[in-house]
């Protein structure tokens, strides 16, 4: 079968049957592309996975683009990327249209209220699990704390804080380099 079609189908499959985030796609990709089809080695796949996390943008999509590019050049990249994005786009479009049709009163509001509370809980657990791996020194804890306070008091916008973090990171590493 055509390599582009294969990439598209494998990522479409992985995107359709994985929930809550892109990392969950990996086992499916590994099974299909590495074990069954031998299109890419596991070492390459996991190297791209690590590498993707250093780029801005949608991590799992960046990963899909790397794999597609490696297997079949730019066309392969587009095929894999399209496959990874389409399920989320199509299913979420349908879900949002249905959601807009739901009247928000009575029992439905009560149900939504409970779901919103669960949603807040998920956000806390997500933040906690990212914090556990990244807040491992005083500087990082300080940055996180400053960003938290500035955001809840609505003093500096979120995009601006990211830009400031980049600038701070550059100054910090430059300073350390000079010290050596």
């Amino acid at each position: 079968m055509n390599k582009n079609m294969t990439l598209f189908k494998v990522y479409l499959l992985a995107g359709t049957f994985t929930f809550s985030g892109g990392m969950a796609m990996l086992p499916v990709i590994e099974r299909e592309l590495c074990d069954k089809l031998n299109l890419i080695t596991k070492k390459d796949l996991y190297e791209y996975t690590t590498l993707s996390q250093t780029f801005p943008g949608v991590i799992a999509l960046t990963n899909a683009c790397f794999v597609g590019k490696k297997v079949n050049g730019t066309v392969g990249m587009i095929a894999a990327g399209l496959g990874a994005v389409l399920p989320a786009y199509i299913l979420m479009s349908i879900a949002t249209v249905l959601y807009q049709l739901v009247p928000q009163d009575g029992i439905i509001l009560s149900i939504l209220g409970a779901i919103r509370a669960t949603s807040a809980a998920f956000l806390i657990t997500a933040a906690y699990s990212i914090a556990r791996y990244n807040l491992n020194n005083v500087v990082n804890i300080g940055i996180a704390l400053v960003c938290f306070i500035l955001t809840i008091f609505n003093l500096v916008s979120a995009p601006m804080l990211i830009v400031l973090a980049i600038v701070f990171g550059i100054i910090l590493t430059y300073g350390r380099q000079v010290k050596k």
């Binding site: 049957f17 994985t18 929930f19 892109g22 996390q53 780029f55 801005p56 943008g57 949608v58 991590i59 683009c65 790397f66 730019t74 990249m77 990327g81 399920p87 989320a88 786009y89 479009s93 879900a95 949002t96 249209v97 807009q100 009560s110 149900i111 939504l112 209220g113 409970a114 779901i115 919103r116 509370a117 669960t118 949603s119 807040a120 809980a121 998920f122 956000l123 997500a126 990212i130 914090a131 990244n134 807040l135 940055i143 996180a144 704390l145 400053v146 960003c147 938290f148 809840i152 008091f153 979120a158 995009p159 990211i162 400031l164 973090a165 980049i166 701070f168 990171g169 910090l172 590493t173």
Partner: protein, 184 residues
């Protein structure tokens, strides 16, 4: 409107380091300009959990669809995907020249720390809105505690961290509980 949505999601894509959840704080910040409320943001986050696929794509599609319809959803999805399509070919072409070294990792570490602060802040504001019925911290005098919501938040955090139950089951179960609370 469509051009505005495209530019906003391009910005979110290029500043979005650290995955879907790290992007959510940016998405909330930008989408609130289009009129997104905390409740709608919470619903988006819940839908992200139920609908398959990448969280950032799900969220972009939701915001586009909600505030600009079909074409805006498509445009938001394309815009948030642009950075991947640009950086991958660039990296492959100039791999040898790009330092994937200590310094880059240092800078990334700072960005991720900022992202953690931003997610906690959005989570905090969400709890303020859902559990205490206050839209921002300056209105704290007007708070009225919603015990059911606060109870669910604490319970779900505990269950999720302790037993790693599938998020879809937790969302469905909490929905059922919300329905029962109304009927009783």
């Amino acid at each position: 409107m469509i051009i505005k949505i495209f530019l906003v999601f391009l910005k979110i894509g290029f500043l979005g380091f650290g995955g879907g959840y790290a992007m959510l704080s940016l998405i909330y910040h930008e989408a609130s300009k289009f009129g997104m409320t905390m409740a709608q943001f919470a619903d988006m986050n819940a839908l992200d959990g139920i609908i398959p696929g990448l969280i950032a794509i799900n969220s972009a599609t939701y915001v586009g669809q909600m505030y600009g319809g079909f074409w805006a959803a498509l445009v938001a999805t394309v815009a948030v995907s642009v950075p991947s399509m640009i950086f991958v070919p660039l990296y492959v072409k100039y791999e040898a020249k790009i330092n994937k070294n200590y310094y880059l990792n240092q800078i990334l570490s700072c960005i991720k720390a900022a992202s953690v602060g931003l997610i906690f802040a959005v989570a905090f504001l969400l709890i303020l809105s859902i559990g205490l019925n206050v839209e921002n911290i300056f209105n704290w005098q007007h708070l009225s505690i919603n015990y059911t919501s606060l109870g669910i938040i604490v319970l779900v955090i505990f269950i999720y961290l302790r037993y790693e139950i599938n998020p879809i089951i937790l969302i469905l179960a909490s929905g059922l509980l919300g329905g029962l609370v109304y009927l009783i």
